[in-house]
Every structure is written in C-alpha cells, then in structure tokens.
C-alpha cells in the first residue's frame, strides 16, 4: 500500500500548497460578479439577448432612457426632442465624450443608425421605417420616417451611439467603402460613451468592465469599480459560488427550486418586470381552434391560479404576476391589476357547448420548447385542465430551431404553443404588433395566425396616432378585443427573478419607484451600490 499512501499524501500536500499559494490578497476595489446565458455580444448593433442588453446599457448610451418608476422617457444623450409629422429632431448634449476621448456629435448618431440598418442584425428592424437621418448641425440630428410611427422615440432606447471616428479607424475588410463596418473590431472592443469600459471580453467566458472615470454623469462611489459578467454558468455552479461568497447576482434562468434554496440560505431576491408575458398561443387556423368558442372554452378552463403557484419562488416573490389581459399591467392600455384572470369552468363548459366541434373528435397538440423546461409543467397543467372539459390532448416537446421552422406554415404549427414575449422598447406596439397583426402571421411570435380586421385597425391606430390619450384608448380597445376573441391564453405577466448576495444593493431591481420597466436596464451598474470592499 506504500505507493497508494504516498500518492494520496502527495496529492493532499499539493492541494494545500496550491490553495495557499493561490490565495489572493484582499482587493482595494469593489468587484461585482454576475452571470448570464452565453454568449455576450459586444457589438451593440447585434445586441438582442439579455446579456447583450446588459453590455449595451453599460458600455454604450442611448439618446433617451426609460423613466424610473413611471411610464415615459427621459433625456439622456439627447437634451430634448420634438416631432413634426414624420420628422423627429433630437438636440444632443454637448458635454459627452466617448471612452476614446472623442467628443460625441450628431455625426455619431447618424453613423450609428446607418450602421445598424446596414448590418440588419439584432433589433435593427425597429429602424426599418427610418427613411433618412441627417446631422442638422453638430448637436442636432433629424430622423425622417417613411410613415408615421408614434412610438419612434421609444425605439431610441435600442439605438446605442457608437464612436464613428474610432470605428472608421478600425474598419476591417469587406465589400464597399465601409468594409466590415467595424464588425471585427466591435466584436471584441468597445466604442461607446458608457459608464463602464471593457477591460477584456471573451464571448463564451466573461466580460470584464471597469468604471469610466470620465463619464458625463456622476457615478456614485459605491458603484462597483470592476464588473465581471460571466457567461453560461450552470445552476449548481452558481449556487456553490454564491454560497462561497464568490458570486453576487445570478441570472434569471435559475430554476425556481435553486432560487428558493438560495433565498433560504440568505440570498436576497431581486426582480425586474420588463413589460412582457407568458402567452399560450392557439393556432386559429386549425380545427377546433378556428372556432372562437372553443378557444374561449380553453381560456376559461386554464388554471391561472395554479400557474402562478408553479412559478412562485417564495411567499412574496414570484417569476410572474397574474395577467389581466393581453397587455401586461403597467403598460399603456393595460387593465388594472385588480382585474386578474381566473379560471371559470362554468363559462368554459358554456363556450364548449357553443363550439361547433365535438371535443371527442380532436386531440389537441400542446407543444413546449425543449430549451425551456418550465413549459413542460405548463403543458401538463393544460393537459389536466382541458381533460376536465373532456378535451383530449398530447404533449409534444420541440427544440426551438424546429419550432421556429414549423410555425412558418399554419398546417405545421401545433394547436398550442407556449412563448415568453416582451416589449423590447417597453411600448405595447413592440409587444403586440408582431404577435397579432395579420401581415406578421407565421413568425415565432405569431403562431396564432390571427386574421382579425378590428385587431389590425386598432394596432395601426396605436402606431400612427401620436396623441398619448388616443393611443391608450386604442390599446384598451385592442386589449378588450383580444380578450373577446381569445387567440391566446394570457398566462401571466412575466417577472425576472435574480438571487443576489448581500454585498450588493440594486435599487432598480428592488424598489419599484426606481424600476425602469425595460429588460436589462435594471443592470445599470452605475446605479448599484457595493456594500463592502472585498
């Protein structure tokens, strides 16, 4: 046993030496460590996921910001703005510098928009309606739209301003005068005005950011000096890291059980409502769901209360709140939070009787996206609920890639699809237009294939009418219409939940009066407060 004993002893001694040698000295600066799903896309023109949004909102700035704790927008890089028909004019601040030291001007705004349109990635579709953009003078920029679009200013939340001079100095090879439009450079480097600079970036591992001392706004001292945004950590790893004090904020993708366990161990739970919901979408072209009465029967049979219980993390915190209709509470046109939807089996039976189809003749296909295990639980819940009405169903697991392909044809689209959809700018137009306008049918957002003239008219009214009161009226009417014809079961209003150590205070994710109401914006590091020096 000599060799074995020696080997074990050597291993133990080596481990101890390594642990001692690797022990790092106490830091003089505060470090915030958080994680998100890979990959971290640093190029702001390609940003679309949550991790990308966190990077974008911290490394870059936009002309406007969402107001905290209230609807509406507030000035940021733009001091003010005005609209005259299809022309939108923004007056820019004159005291903003990029991290490179270059001053920010209207030319940079023009370049940023043109770059986004040219690359055609990420959320560039928000700017497809922009016919031209020009720098009126050094600090004034004018956007000319092809057709009226009321929520255009809120689209500016997704136009990060890029340092034109720096990008032009780093153009890569490509077709035409603009080469690759700086894609190669911006995939690993930053060219923004943001409160945080990029120290290093590995899209699969982590992005390290440091406070930008020259930021045009004051950054509080307590804000983290360094931020390490890690990608693709497993729930077991996150749980262990937080327990070891080596991680500060988890991603929102932890299973409720892990969030619950972390909360039990003393972690605080942070929340963000980003203006989105969980939608159970019914294919309105397939029998028996082409009959509105059948859809209403299913909507009334759905157990909204159990759905909420399934996503509860603790007694007080949940990954969603009861839905009141198609529009999440707090958004323009939403019903009040007291009007929450509830199961009504009597109404469900009445509607089923009015349905022209016999439930025995059908087997409803309930799909769930393979990458979202939570949806399987909802599929089982629906199967049980519909069974109580005498409606048979089968559950089908579909990888996202397959789902996105199948929904392009109504005959291939399952009877029921489950999706999480949110308003990318916080405006109801970016939530509802893609889902319910008949011209947009057959995308991942619109497996309902809804074709309703009233819905189309109201969506159009909400897009073109610039009067806020008139828009609100249109969206209220739209909400009522969508409830009446039930193309969707409005499961719940989504809320992201994050587990965090007590080393960090995040007012935008813990105090409703400081919340932004836009996904990812709550992770503005400059507004966070580290509680101690690690």
């Amino acid at each position: 046993m000599n060799i074995f004993a020696k080997t074990i002893a050597a291993a133990c001694v080596s481990a101890s030496i390594l642990a001692l040698a690797a022990a790092a000295p106490a830091q003089a600066e505060t470090v915030l460590r958080l994680d998100e799903v890979a990959v971290g896309e640093l190029d702001p023109a390609k940003a679309s996921d949550y991790a990308d949004s966190i990077l974008m909102f911290n490394v870059y700035d936009t002309l406007v910001l969402p107001a905290q704790g209230a609807p509406g927008l507030v000035p940021h890089l733009a001091k003010s703005w005005s609209a005259d028909g299809n022309n939108h004019i923004f007056n820019l601040r004159d005291d903003v510098k990029f991290q490179s030291g270059n001053p920010m001007s209207a030319d940079d705004v023009v370049f940023s928009l043109q770059r986004m349109q040219e690359l055609g990635s990420g959320l560039s579709y928000l700017f497809a309606n922009v016919e031209s953009v020009e720098a009126v003078d050094e600090h004034t920029v004018m956007f000319v739209l092809k057709e009226p679009y009321a929520p255009f200013v809120s689209s500016m939340l997704r136009l990060p301003i890029v340092d034109k001079k720096l990008v032009m100095e780093n153009l890569g090879a490509g077709d035409g005068e603009m080469g690759d439009w700086g894609q190669a450079y911006l995939s690993g480097n930053a060219a923004g005005t943001g409160a945080y600079k990029v120290s290093s970036h590995n899209p699969q591992q982590e992005t390290v950011m440091a406070k930008n001392a020259d930021y045009f706004l004051d950054i509080q001292d307590a804000a983290p000096d360094t931020v390490r945004l890690r990608y693709g950590l497993e729930p077991a790893t996150v749980r262990t890291l937080i327990a070891q004090g080596e991680h500060d904020i988890s991603s929102q993708w932890l299973p409720p059980e892990v969030l619950k366990a972390l909360s039990k161990d003393g972690a605080q739970l942070l929340t963000e409502s980003g203006g989105g919901g969980f939608y159970v979408k019914m294919n309105t072209t397939k029998a028996p769901l082409d009959d509105m009465e059948c859809r209403l029967a299913l909507s009334n049979a759905f157990d909204y209360g159990s759905a909420i219980k399934m996503i509860a993390v603790t007694d007080d915190v949940s990954q969603g709140s009861p839905a009141t209709g198609a529009i999440p509470v707090g958004m323009l046109g939403a019903n009040p939070s007291t009007d929450d939807l509830a199961r009504d089996m009597d109404a469900a039976k009445r509607h089923l009787e009015a349905c022209r189809y016999n439930p025995d003749d059908f087997n409803i296909e309930i799909s769930w996206i393979a990458e979202v295990p939570l949806e399987e639980r909802f599929a089982l819940l629906m199967q049980a609920n519909f069974n109580e009405l005498g409606i048979k169903s089968e559950i089908k697991k579909m990888p996202w890639a397959l789902f996105a392909e199948q929904v392009s044809k109504p005959e291939n689209t399952p009877h029921i699809s489950q999706l999480f959809v949110n308003a990318v700018t916080g405006d109801p137009d970016t939530l509802l237009y893609g889902m319910y306008d008949s011209k947009n049918a057959g995308t991942w957002q619109s497996p309902e294939y809804l074709n309703d003239a009233d819905v189309d008219d109201l969506l159009e009214e909400g897009r073109v009418n610039t009067d806020v009161a008139a828009r609100e009226k249109a969206y209220k009417a739209l909400n009522a219409r969508l409830m009446a014809i039930a193309p969707t079961i409005y499961g719940y209003d989504r809320q992201s939940v994050f587990a965090a150590s007590d080393r960090v205070k995040v007012p935008a994710l813990s105090d409703p009066s400081k919340a932004f109401g836009l996904d990812g914006m709550g992770f503005s590091f400059r507004l966070m407060e580290m509680q101690d020096k690690s």
Binding site: M1, I3, F4, T7, A15, I17, L18, A19, A21, A22, A24, P25, Q27, V31, A38, V39, E41, K46, S48, D49, G120, S121, G122, L123, S124, Y125, A128, Q183, A184, S187, G188, S200, N202, P203, Q204, Q205, E206, R228, G232, L233, E234, A236, T237, T240, L241, A243, Q244, E246, H247, E371, P399, W400, A401, L402, A404, E405, V424, G434, W444, Q445
Partner: protein, 354 residues
C-alpha cells in the same frame, strides 16, 4: 551522397515505425476528408434555419433571407461544400454565427483550454490509474484489490458530469478547498498569451502565483474528467497483469525469490502495458468529447463547451470547424499511441530487421 549515408537514410525510411507513421497519416487525411463531408452534410440536414437562430427571434424575414444569402444556404450543398474547401485551403473556416468572430479565432482561443484540461486529466488518468492497477494485481484477491476494483467500477460506471457535480459538492460546497469557476482567480492578471496554455504561459512569464492559481483551478475539473479513465486504466492494468502473472517466466522469477515489487513493476507490468496503452490512448482522445459537461459545470472556457453551444445554435461554420479540430486531435493522439506501442513492443520495432 555517400553510400553508407544513403543506406542509413533508406533504412530509416523503410523502418516499420516510419512505414507505420506514413500509413497512419495517409489514413488520417482520408478520414478527415470523410468527416468534413459527413459533418458538412449532417449540419445542414438537421432541422432549424441557422440564419433564423443566429439573428434571434426578433429578426424580420428580410434579415433572415439576407443572412441566408450571405451564407450561401440557398445554393446546392455540393456548391456550398466546394466553397468551404476553397476557403479552408486559405485557412478560412468562416464566421461563427454564435460569437460573430472568425471560427479560426474562436478555435485558437478555446482549444488550448480544453487541451490543457484533457492533458492534465490524462496525467491523472495515468498517474492514478496505472499504479492502482499494479497495486490491485499485486495484492489480487486481498482487501486492497477488492477496494480498488469497487472504486474503479464506480469510476467507470458514472459519467464525468456526475463526478463533476459530486466533486464540486464535496470539495467546494461542503469543504471549500478548490475553486469551481474559470481558469484562474478573478483577482489575478492573465499572463501574456504565448502558447495559450495557462499553466505554461504563467511559468514562461515567471508568475508563480498565477501558475499556482491555474493549477488550483484545474484540479477538480481534470479529476472529474479523469475519474472514468482512472477506473478504466486500473481495471485494464490489473486484468492484463493478472494474466501475465500466470506466465511461466513470472513463476520462474518467483521461484528464484525475486522481490515481489520487482516482479510486479518490471516483469509483470511492462508486457501488460501494451494493451492498456491502446485503451488509455483512446480514452485520452475521448476526453476531448466528454469534456463538454465538465467544462459547463466548471465554467471552463474550452472548445468542447463551445462545440455544444454551436451545435445547439446550428452554427454551421463553427460546427464543421470544431468537429474537424477534435477529429484531427483524436487522430494525432491515436498516431502517437501507435508509435508508442511500436516503440515499446520489440516485435513491431524490430519487425523489419530480419
């Protein structure tokens, strides 16, 4: 050229080891061409539009169509393959839709981390597996043998990711002895990239603190990855050695009163090593593929983890690039093992001399 020199060169060229090397290299090239064709086709057949997945759910149909056009996805598959071969000949594997960077850049960044992990796991596999096998054979039928056999069986039967989670729970959660995320401590600077292998780069930079941290970080993931191989190596070594113990020359050595340790380490072990080495070589190469779950659990920024992500996102260029690199590494390891066996086995080494 002088005749003796010519004869010497001819003898080297004609030697069985060189012939073996040439034969293996030729087969490897054919295998790689076959793999590239196969993976190129399979990646395009599996369901899902790569352009739609890459651009995300909010992209318009026009954006998707533009990207499909850019990727030549609407062209016949043989034309796409011809373009791939042409680009590959110029060292270009295309752009990854997952990271939006050249695939070659991604591979260059992520491959060293995986190789480093697999290499250290290989050292653990050999360093623990073979001695355990020798011990087990030497004390066959006794308590030590039984314990080692049970432990080896456990190692072989549980997959690496199970060990990854168990080791994390034991040595990071309950007993916080080892770090569990990344390659080095957050607080340390990354040494200048020379080889891409953090352990080597930190030594080259003379930064022993970084080396210690990197070594500390690699222990758990490498051990989790190696455990199955350790069990396999121990079982194989034991089985082969027990068989060798029945050979007459061992009985002769025992009857002459040679020390047990000498018999085990010299006369029984060496002939038993050859069959074990083949399997260990295969295990070593297989760890490249198995590393992905260990890399996921320990947030290890390696190629295996990247490979899984690109497959899930149907990132065509990156799938082909990653599979080719892993296949090439697999083939290289196999060639090295073949050469090692040829070197150890005198029947191969001296086959041509007769």
């Amino acid at each position: 050229m002088h005749l003796p020199h010519f004869l010497r060169v001819t003898r080297i060229i004609m030697s069985p080891v060189v012939q073996l090397l040439v034969k293996r290299l030729s087969i490897s090239i054919i295998v790689l061409i076959g793999v590239s064709m196969l993976i190129f086709t399979i990646a395009r057949i599996i369901p899902g539009d790569p352009a739609r997945i890459a651009l995300g759910p909010n992209a318009t149909a026009e954006q998707v169509a533009n990207l499909r056009d850019k990727l030549h996805l609407d062209e016949p598959i043989y034309i796409q393959y011809a373009k791939f071969v042409s680009d590959f000949a110029h060292g270009d594997l295309g752009i990854s839709l997952y990271t939006n960077r050249p695939v070659t850049t991604d591979i260059a960044q992520f491959l060293p981390a995986t190789l480093e992990l697999v290499f250290v796991a290989g050292i653990f596999m050999i360093g623990f597996g073979i001695p355990l096998g020798i011990l087990s054979a030497r004390y066959r039928g006794r308590v030590a043998d039984n314990i080692i056999r049970v432990v080896s069986l456990l190692g072989v039967s549980a997959p690496s990711f199970v060990w990854a989670v168990i080791l994390m729970l034991l040595f990071a959660f309950f007993l916080p002895l080892f770090p569990i995320a990344g390659q080095i401590s957050d607080t340390l600077p990354v040494p200048p990239r020379i080889t891409g292998f953090l352990l080597i780069d930190s030594l080259l930079a003379g930064d022993f603190k970084v080396f210690a941290s990197a070594a500390h970080h690699i222990v758990l993931p490498a051990f989790a990855l190696a455990l199955s191989g350790i069990g396999q190596a121990a079982r194989l070594t034991r089985a082969n050695m027990v068989e060798t113990y029945d050979k007459p020359y061992i009985e002769m050595a025992q009857s002459y009163g040679f020390p047990e340790k000498r018999i085990a380490n010299r006369y029984a072990f060496r002939p038993s090593l050859i069959p074990s080495l083949t399997i260990i070589g295969l295990d070593f190469a297989a760890m490249l593929g198995n590393a992905f779950l260990v890399e996921a659990v320990y947030a290890w920024p390696g190629l295996s983890r990247y490979g899984v992500q690109v497959i899930l996102r149907k990132d065509l260029n990156a799938i082909v690039g990653t599979v080719l690199v892993i296949s090439a590494t697999f083939l290289v390891v196999n060639i090295i093992v073949d050469l090692l066996i040829a070197f150890i086995n005198p029947r191969i080494r001296y086959a041509g001399r007769s």
